[in-house]
């Protein structure tokens, strides 16, 4: 059976040394994870401050939602192809594309996180004499952390799952096995690669889900269906754990 052959392919030591005179399984996994981390880092640096600013001021939220919906319509394969032809064909271009994909969920997580903080709690913090900076770092961010991490989780999944596409354009990632296999009709290699990339995505999701759960501050209920805020918005959890804010 092909599926078993695919699993056997993954556990064959020769394939960890090298596959089709390219990198082996370990090498491609490292390249895949590095590319994921680099893209994620760029996305975080751009999206988190921006999202916190939107959440804190309440301005720009609709623009952020609209931009997120437009990005959703972009075929990543097309963006990669266009930009790699038009710009330099080094790894910076895919990093920019993947960072772009990772931005909307992070942005939404950041602003929804801040919005989820009860205004009375913030006022109380101010009343006991906290400075604005202390309010942000000691009250708002800890309370927003679970939703912020929900955004990080969605963003990470999005990127780790999409990174495989770079191998069509000659860069290393676990997708290399799928592209290679398709070119040489080596189905077993394709299946092996698919299993690895699926395992990476599921593993990353499981790790981040655990981290997300651990960041809920003590004393804050882990509501299953969301909880109410002073503004009457219910904060819910999206398919992959991303926060969604009702209304608007």
């Amino acid at each position: 059976m092909l599926l078993l052959q695919g699993i056997a392919w993954i556990f064959s030591p020769a394939n960890w040394a090298s596959v089709s005179s390219g990198l082996g399984i370990g090498g491609e996994i490292v390249a895949h994870l590095l590319l994921t981390l680099e893209s994620l880092l760029v996305a975080v640096v751009i999206a988190v401050p921006l999202g916190l600013a939107i959440g804190h001021t309440g301005r720009g939220r609709n623009v952020a939602i609209l931009a997120g919906n437009v990005v959703r319509a972009f075929p990543t394969l097309g963006l990669l192809s266009i930009l790699l032809i038009a710009l330099t064909a080094n790894l910076l271009t895919p990093i920019a594309v993947f960072a772009l994909l990772g931005i909307p969920p992070l942005l939404a997580g950041a602003y929804a996180g801040l919005e989820s903080v009860d205004r009375q709690t913030v006022d109380a913090a101010r009343a006991v004499g906290m400075t604005e900076w202390q309010i942000l770092t000691k009250v708002e961010l800890p309370l927003a952390a679970p939703l912020l991490l929900g955004g990080l989780r969605s963003s990470t999944l999005q990127i780790i799952a999409t990174v495989s596409l770079v191998s069509e354009f000659g860069f290393d990632s676990v997708g290399q096995f799928i592209i290679n296999g398709a070119a040489t009709q080596d189905y077993v290699q394709m299946i092996g690669g698919s299993i690895i990339v699926t395992a990476l995505a599921l593993l990353a999701d499981a790790i981040l889900a655990t981290v997300q759960r651990l960041t809920v501050p003590r004393g804050v209920p882990r509501g299953v269906g969301g909880r109410s805020t002073a503004r009457g918005r219910r904060i819910l959890t999206a398919p992959s754990g991303a926060p969604i804010s009702e209304g608007n």
Partner: protein, 232 residues
């Protein structure tokens, strides 16, 4: 632009292939999600189990799913049905949640009034619950439509032709225009599908026309759905 004029036939064929691969997942995803979503809205246990399955499905990268589906179904790897089956699974992962939210948004008072007036369970479903859930269902299927059209392009990586074939071909020939044409057509197709779905919605739900989105529909539309944001 000469390339466009001399390749109008190819462009038409690829667009047609793309539509052929996009429509079944959207339609099947919608139809199948209605009974499942209804069930999920009635039973908290079913909801939690079904949505968890959906989340796991959603986590599997599309490229991997396109390769693994034929292995599990015993199809050839070059069969276009693989793309359709894989994208139907994604459509379900998104749409079951939307449908569950849609039916949950129908107020209990309204359901009980219908029952009190003598509606049978089937009549109540068809004449009361389904119409009231309509706007949220529409919002959900629009999300599914955009993501499906975008995801179809990855079939090109395993040799299943669609507008995505222009992306891979353009890169191999270092030909910018071809990639651009493919990109614009994918966005155009997504826009056309979206307009068509809105028109169908307006025709079926005349009471909903021009009204502001309900909180629940707005939520479905505004939810950051990272994995559908792009082709994986």
């Amino acid at each position: 632009m000469d390339w466009v004029w001399s390749h109008l036939g190819d462009i038409g064929d690829m667009t047609f292939d793309h539509i052929e691969l996009s429509v079944p997942p959207i339609v099947i995803g919608f139809l199948v999600s209605i009974p499942i979503g209804y069930w999920a809205s009635r039973s908290p246990v079913a909801r939690s189990v079904l949505l968890t399955i959906g989340n796991i499905l959603y986590t599997i990268p599309a490229l991997a799913l396109v390769v693994l589906v034929p292995v599990l179904l015993g199809l050839s790897l070059l069969n276009p049905l693989n793309v359709i089956a894989a994208l139907t699974l994604y459509a379900l992962a998104i749409m079951v949640r939307s449908a569950a939210d849609a039916f949950a948004s129908v107020s209990t008072d309204v359901r009980q009034s219908a029952t009190a007036q003598g509606y049978s369970a089937a009549q109540r479903f068809l004449r009361v619950e389904l119409p009231l859930a309509g706007p949220v269902l529409l919002a959900g299927i629009r999300v599914v439509s955009v993501s499906t059209i975008s995801l179809v392009t990855i079939g090109a990586l395993v040799g299943i032709p669609s507008l995505g074939s222009f992306f891979t071909d353009a890169f191999q020939r270092d030909f910018f225009l071809e990639a651009l044409v493919g990109f614009v057509l994918v966005l155009l197709l997504a826009a056309v599908f979206d307009v068509v779905l809105s028109l169908i919605g307006a025709a079926l739900m005349p009471w909903n026309r021009g009204s502001r989105l309900s909180a629940a529909s707005a939520r479905v539309l505004s939810q950051p759905q990272p994995n559908t944001a792009a082709v994986r």
